[in-house]
């Protein structure tokens, strides 16, 4: 693995390897010294063109637990807001000998651009790009689901995938990088996915995706769901006529108290409720649902650090320079 840009092109082997490594990383959090020397002397740059404190501190904690040096580069309030280009920023980071660049960007494809442009030699980790992908979020979601699924099936999670797991993802799929990354990764891991959204918040072309699509949350739940993932919905979408009102949205597509209660009456006693955060309580999820024992919201945050440690470790610990030389040799011959 040279970069982590998307889950669309992440094979089952690499995906399971990241999840397995994350299992080992999660044990570090329980130890006396919550730190490993594996990335000593490596420099990880968190390059954020878009604010996201949660994602940044998660990556920062992950890199620091692996003993990497961390540089936070917020594109706001820096040379970037004065119009410095991605190219110039990349070349600056290259001059600083960054080994990995964790990039968050409002523009879809910016991480891929950074990785493939030749501007920089570092490993690139996509920490969320526009409405494209957020691969580490999907991996931490899969990690959370795998632990749950293994516990239910009384299997070891290491080495396992998600075959047979039924996942529903509800909300603003159109603008959601989390939904996209989850759809590809969950397919790769063998889960079956149903997207639930108002038709206005599903992309044209969704019919080609490896999942079911439904406009009706209740009927999806009635068919049986093992993991119910709610996506953040921005209330301002209402102003662009994606839906008439927050109230109508919450009633039709929100995970409210009535739907929480319906899980019991449907016999879905083990169904978990997931949310990537930050939550809009009362819009896509009710407080009772968010705070219920079914909610994995905090476990997702915890698992995020383990998964990001795994990704950074797997990208940075090997002899990447040599791999790169091999690649150049192949391509130039």
């Amino acid at each position: 693995m040279r970069h982590l840009l998307s889950t669309e092109d992440l094979g089952r082997g690499d995906a399971v390897r990241i999840l397995d490594t994350a299992e080992e990383m999660s044990a570090v959090g329980d130890r006396e010294v919550k730190k490993l020397p594996a990335l000593r002397g490596r420099t990880v740059v968190n390059l954020f063109f878009e604010d996201s404190t949660r994602t940044r501190i998660s990556f920062e904690a992950a890199a620091k637990r692996l003993s990497a040096d961390v540089i936070n580069f917020a594109a706001k309030g820096s040379s970037v807001s004065k119009g410095e280009s991605l190219k110039d920023t990349a070349q600056t980071l290259e001059a600083m000998s960054a080994d990995a660049v964790v990039i968050r960007h409002w523009a879809s494809g910016a991480p891929q651009r950074l990785a493939n442009s030749g501007w920089i030699d570092a490993a690139v980790v996509n920490a969320g790009d526009g409405t494209h992908e957020h691969p580490t979020q999907a991996l931490l979601d899969a990690f959370t689901m795998r632990r749950h699924w293994s516990r239910l099936n009384r299997n070891a999670s290491t080495g396992a995938d998600l075959t047979g797991l039924r996942v529903a993802i509800a909300g603003d799929v159109l603008h959601s990088r989390v939904a996209r990354s989850n759809v590809w990764l969950l397919r790769t891991l063998g889960a079956s996915v149903t997207l639930v959204a108002p038709p206005t918040l599903l992309p044209v072309g969704v019919e080609h995706w490896p999942c079911e699509v439904s406009y009706d949350l209740d009927s999806t739940l009635a068919k049986g769901v093992d993991a119910m993932m709610m996506l953040r919905v921005q209330a301002e979408r209402m102003n662009a006529s994606f839906f008439p009102s927050a109230r109508e949205y919450a009633r039709r597509w929100g995970f409210d108290d009535r739907r929480l209660a319906s899980l019991d009456s449907l016999g879905l006693k083990d169904t978990i409720i997931m949310h990537p955060g930050p939550m809009n309580r009362g819009l896509e999820i009710s407080s009772a649902a968010a705070d219920s024992p079914r909610s994995t919201v905090l476990a997702q945050v915890r698992n995020g650090v383990s998964v990001r440690m795994a990704a950074l470790y797997l990208l940075l610990s090997g002899d990447t320079r040599e791999e790169r030389n091999e690649l150049t040799k192949v391509s130039s011959s």
Partner: protein, 189 residues
């Protein structure tokens, strides 16, 4: 490559019976050095140090019925502490499992199959420090083949094997390499 046969340029230096005798002797040495079974923890280094630690624990229990072989053995993954991480292809880390008693104030015996450069043991010592504070750490190995690159020595050695650097020492255990159960030296390229 098959693990159950030896090539034309390899020779067996320890048979299954030799290995068993060596472990019996090491078990006795451990009890002797520790003046009894108290506070003993055996930490096996993957892959082959772990089954060796389990075998040793059974030997200890056979000598001293007060020892529960299941409760004194642990698994110590040192991947993340290696000094060659950036020089080798990426290695996925494995699990570390400590005995429920932990290692604080214990007598930890590290168990590995072959002692060579000493770098793995260096990594293991660092890993232990991050997990707790044992009273004593000792080292038991099945084979010491020399060529040390660090000031490290074993307290208990099954067999000292003088080798050339180009040669390969392969320990093959039933648990990991079955059915083979021996130690062979293969000529280098």
């Amino acid at each position: 490559m098959s693990t159950s046969s030896t090539g034309p340029t390899s020779r067996v230096v320890l048979t299954a019976a030799d290995i068993d005798r060596a472990l019996t002797r090491i078990a006795h040495e451990i009890l002797e050095a520790n003046k009894g079974p108290q506070d003993l923890v055996l930490l096996g280094i993957p892959r082959r140090g772990y089954p060796l630690a389990q075998r040793l624990a059974r030997k200890l229990a056979a000598t001293d019925p007060g020892i529960d072989p299941e409760r004194i053995v642990g698994l110590l993954d040192v991947t993340m502490f290696r000094d060659d991480l950036s020089r080798q292809p990426t290695r996925a880390p494995g699990p570390t499992q400590l005995p429920s008693t932990g290692i604080d104030n214990k007598v930890v015996v590290l168990v590995d199959d072959v002692l060579y450069s000493g770098r793995t043991i260096r990594a293991a010592l660092d890993a232990i420090v991050d997990l707790g504070r044992p009273r004593v750490v000792r080292l038991a190995v099945l084979v010491d083949r020399g060529h040390r690159e660090l000031p490290i020595r074993a307290d208990h050695v099954g067999k000292n094997l003088p080798t050339a650097s180009a040669e390969k020492v392969r320990v093959r255990l039933e648990e990991t390499d079955g059915p083979a159960n021996d130690v062979v030296i293969e000529a280098g390229e």
